[in-house]
């Protein structure tokens, strides 16, 4: 039977002890929430560049530099991937879908343009531009000689809906204007045309033929949707299939791209968080045990005046349960505040040049590209329950076992305790 008066008087009249106990529980809860939220937010941030294009793996191959910058040429970072290789990749266990694209540079007398060929109905890759059409319409499966233009490039070149553009000597009518910034930096272009037409242009182009063998069904970028837990294994298998010069991007590879400095900082932060967390856990256990040890003589008095072991344990658990409840509430509040602070942090995920092959001779072409991601804090009831459960179980478990041990001692032993 819990005595409320005794409970409240212990809480209020032993102010320092109460503050320390509550503070420790609050600290542990806050750290747990922060560490869990931050790690989740960072994982999401690393997936952002690929999520933007609806894939969790992208595949490219490096090849030779074009000998002449005339007509359509393949950038050295996107050498051909044969149709047979695509089919073999598609058959790997864990692969859900493979979308093809053909990216080439088109040099004519006074114009340079980056062109991407895509299947308008694909679930991943540039086809996701369907949600970024600002004017006109998206390409359809049956479209021929139609193109989408990136809106900034179109404005710079005074191109609008219905205008004609020439790509690899073929004429295309602009069907829509799109905001390509919404699909990250990967596989972005000035013009987007149907895949088959891009494949045909590339296969006929002299600049491509000089150094590559490109068949009309080949492509040079693959956007793959795969089982999340198999991503890294699949990436390894694809590298083995396509050879050394293959560039396979996954969320993990973006993490590595952040560089050793970031990794070091991340590891250092993880180490610090781990140490603080471990220390805080120890303090919860220590405080809970100290709370019992400090009151051992008092427990002797309880036993001497007729309190049974169960009476003593119930009272101690209620007292510490109250500390833990208040501490957990404050900890959750602290965690929410910290999460709010973290949600204002933006981190820049570097996108490798070869994934957004802008020629280095263009303004900004040689600069490192970044995908800026604002950290997203995902609070869930499960997370809160988990973060609160650790200090609650730890604190109450310690009190219960320490209280049990003390209440089992002979009364004289506890009364003599100093």
């Amino acid at each position: 039977m819990i005595n409320r008066k005794y409970l409240i008087s212990e809480l209020t009249k032993r102010g320092r002890r109460s503050v320390v106990n509550i503070g420790m529980v609050a600290l542990v809860t806050t750290i747990l929430i922060c560490v869990t939220l931050l790690s989740g937010a960072l994982e999401k941030a690393f997936q952002a560049p690929l999520n933007d294009i609806g894939a969790n793996i992208t595949v490219q191959k490096s090849g030779d530099v074009p000998e002449q910058m005339a007509g359509p040429v393949l950038p050295c970072s996107v050498a051909p991937i044969t149709n047979q290789q695509r089919i073999e990749i598609e058959q790997l266990p864990g692969i859900q879908s493979v979308s093809q694209a053909v990216l080439f540079w088109d040099f004519s007398e006074d114009v340079f343009q980056i062109v991407v060929g895509m299947n308008a109905t694909d679930k991943a890759g540039p086809a996701l531009l369907r949600s970024a059409v600002l004017e006109g319409r998206m390409l359809t499966e049956t479209d021929t000689e139609k193109a989408l233009a990136e809106i900034v490039w179109a404005e710079q070149n005074s191109i609008g809906i219905g205008d004609n553009v020439t790509i690899g000597g073929e004429s295309f009518i602009i069907a829509g204007l799109v905001d390509a910034s919404q699909i990250s930096q990967i596989g972005t272009a000035n013009l987007y045309i149907p895949l088959q037409e891009a494949q045909l242009i590339a296969s006929k182009a002299a600049g491509v033929k000089e150094i590559h063998s490109f068949e009309p069904q080949d492509s040079n970028i693959l956007f793959i949707q795969a089982d999340r837990d198999k991503t890294e294994d699949l990436a390894e298998q694809i590298r083995e299939m396509l050879g050394e010069k293959t560039s396979v991007a996954t969320p993990d590879s973006f993490k590595q791209l952040l560089g050793s400095m970031f990794n070091l900082t991340q590891r250092f932060s993880a180490l610090i968080s781990g140490m603080v967390f471990f220390l805080a856990m120890l303090l919860v256990v220590r405080n809970a045990s100290a709370a019992i040890a400090e009151r051992t003589k008092e427990i002797g008095t309880m036993k001497a005046v007729g309190w049974t072991g169960a009476d003593i344990r119930t009272q101690l658990l209620a007292e510490n349960g109250l500390y833990i409840f208040i501490g957990t509430v404050l900890g959750v509040f602290g965690g929410v505040l910290a999460a709010w602070g973290f949600s204002h942090i933006t981190i820049a995920i570097p996108v490798p040049w070869d994934m957004a092959p802008i020629p280095h001779f263009l303004p900004g072409g040689a600069e490192q590209l970044f995908r800026k991601v604002q950290l997203q804090m995902d609070f869930s009831p499960q997370l809160l329950v988990l973060c609160c459960a650790v200090p609650v179980l730890l604190g109450l478990g310690t009190v219960w076992s320490a209280g049990r041990a003390v209440s089992r001692l002979q009364t004289s032993e506890v009364l003599r305790y100093e």
Binding site: Y6, G300, A304, V305, T308, G309, D311, Q410, T411, L415
Partner: protein
């Protein structure tokens, strides 16, 4: 066996051949005696003679190595800690030399403390505690924390706490040991009046031979043995 305790069936305390040792130290050796209902018995002896250990054994604070202890007709040696606690709650009060009050509770709450685990209405519990504080002359000190009370007042609170469960036996361990002589005398008068007026059996450990004059009988202890009864 004590001559005065011929009817064991009605005795308050019956101790038969109890011994206790801690390593090579034997504070209690083969002790036997009997205390009748309503008697005031003092246990006298010098420091280290084993009287506090003997009191602890009789009150069930620890177990003897051998022998038998019967309180109010119930053998207590075989009882576990919880059964002993319930036995104390029901029929025993204890007055400590160093009070053992709960520092965060008021005088009234300290008196009511043994009743906290008992299912009785709070109002009744507080009335009983207040009435005992009144009896102890502490009516105006009910809301004071132990730290705000004098030594004599704390000992009165301890006595009130020992009486709140209406015990038939009151064990006292040097109840005046930490008090000045005037306050000590007041406390003794109070305890004697409880014995005389309310018939509470009083078993008191003391090294003060003056106190023995107030008791019905004294047991003398030396080197762990009760040497003689007076």
């Amino acid at each position: 066996m004590n001559e005065k305790c011929k009817k064991e069936a009605v005795s308050a305390i019956t101790v038969k051949k109890i011994s206790k040792h801690f390593g090579s130290v034997k504070p209690v050796q083969n002790v036997s005696f009997c205390v009748e209902q309503g008697e005031f018995v003092t246990l006298v002896g010098s420091s280290g003679s084993g009287k506090t250990t003997l009191l602890g054994l009789i009150a069930g604070f620890e177990k003897p190595d051998t022998g038998s202890i019967v309180l109010q007709g119930r053998e207590i040696v075989a009882l576990d800690e919880d059964q002993l606690a319930l036995m104390r709650r029901k029929s025993v009060g204890f007055v400590f030399q160093d009070f053992h009050l709960i520092p965060t509770l008021s005088a009234l709450e300290n008196v009511a403390f043994p009743l906290y685990p008992v299912k009785i209405p709070e109002k009744e519990r507080n009335e009983r505690a207040q009435s005992l504080l009144d009896q102890m002359g502490l009516s105006g000190r009910a809301d004071h924390l132990p730290a705000k009370l004098s030594g004599g007042e704390r000992q009165r609170v301890t006595i009130a706490r020992a009486l709140v469960n209406k015990p038939s036996i009151l064990f006292c361990d040097e109840p005046t040991g930490n008090l000045d002589s005037t306050t000590g005398k007041e406390i003794l008068d109070l305890l004697v009046s409880l014995n005389v007026e309310q018939g509470v059996t009083l078993f008191m450990v003391t090294h003060d031979r003056e106190i023995t004059k107030l008791s019905n009988r004294s047991l003398y202890m030396q080197d762990g043995e009760v040497t003689y009864h007076e």
